[in-house]
Symmetry: C2
Subunit: 221 residues, 2 copies
């Protein structure tokens, strides 16, 4: 009989995440875990980032989905190495999946590893993946109440990107509500407004990566 | 030491779900579990349904969220009894939470109990709540690839409602892709197009409840 215990799973996961973190650091690779609801535009944000900052950073992408390889195919069209993880029903990526996926990447040719998690505002927050930073994406059509309703996610991240601002004109979305909820639940976090579609705010989004990279370089010295 | 085992959790949950199902059946109450991503418009659909069919059915609503009581407050404004469950970080409603919430409802004055699950396209699919029917809501801004990417959810439901069709003009959303993916993964399911905002398709959405209710009445005889 095999017992699977929830607390142990997280402990083992954290241990593997540490191994990933060290492995990446030794190779000079900075990983960013990108989280958000299904359809909030995580893949579109990665595409926009690669187009904007692809000349400054060598990117690689790990895509997490229950099924399909659609997202990895989208990334590969940009000539960026991509590995698709299918969780086969699982609601989040875990460190073991990411460690296995690393075997399929040539880390010598990677500066920034973007890990797109399964679309889910709850479970992925609990699982470290050896990342240096965590970004949450929230999209305008989801509504301005999501920070308050999914606090554990927004408390676990280093930055919040509000995507699809091109749709603001057609929706009731009060950015002050997001700012207000963040100031209470995750003080210091200010939402960055972007549209992966129109490109608005993507320079600033690249700036987040650049800032994290500079910190990472400094810490490595 | 307390061991929490994943398989046992589901077995215990199913048992409690059966108890709920029997309890509701004895009182002539039909429960519908409403599932979908964060911000796909589950609460707005319930509001629209109550406004459209509130003269034919006595509704009650159980709202599931990690935090806040915002959704239950929205429902109570329509003079419909609502109970808010806060999962406190949990990614889905389980049968035990629903059984407890039933204590706060006077079932003699309820025909249709709508249970709005936590916004999540993965985990809630595994947990029965004593419901007679399961409806999945998918919204246009999430994109037309969600059925293929979250198959376990769409395979677990009796109906699929595509909400926010008022935004179709501003987005690339091919409904044929949804229909095609459903025909492969969940044969027999055809998406119902609605907009909780404009009211389009809400009569047909009420029709789904009416049809389920008639079947339920028939089965009870």
């Amino acid at each position: 009989m095999k017992l699977v215990v929830s607390k142990d799973i997280l402990k083992v996961n954290d241990k593997i995440a540490e191994i990933i973190g060290e492995k990446l650091e030794n190779r000079g690779v900075m990983a960013v875990n990108i989280l958000g609801s299904p359809g909030c535009g995580k893949t579109a944000l990665i595409e926009a980032l690669v187009k904007n900052a692809g000349d400054r950073f060598k990117f690689a992408v790990i895509e997490g989905d229950l099924a399909t390889s659609r997202d990895a195919e989208r990334i590969e069209k940009l000539n960026v190495p991509a590995v698709q993880i299918n969780t086969g029903g699982g609601c989040h990526l875990d460190a073991n999946m990411v460690l296995t996926a690393l075997d399929d990447l040539d880390l010598d040719y990677v500066d920034v590893l973007l890990i797109e998690n399964v679309g889910n505002l709850v479970c992925p927050a609990a699982f470290k993946l050896g990342e240096r930073k965590r970004f949450a994406a929230l999209s305008v059509p989801e509504g301005d109440d999501k920070v308050a309703k999914y606090p554990t996610m927004f408390q676990s991240v280093d930055a919040v990107v509000v995507n699809k601002i091109d749709l603001m004109a057609y929706l009731d979305f009060d950015i002050r509500r997001v700012e207000n909820d963040l100031s209470k639940l995750a003080p210091g976090l200010k939402p960055l407004l972007v549209s992966a579609k129109t490109g608005e705010g993507i320079v600033e989004f690249s700036g987040l990566i650049e800032k994290a990279w500079n910190e990472f370089q400094k810490a490595q010295r």
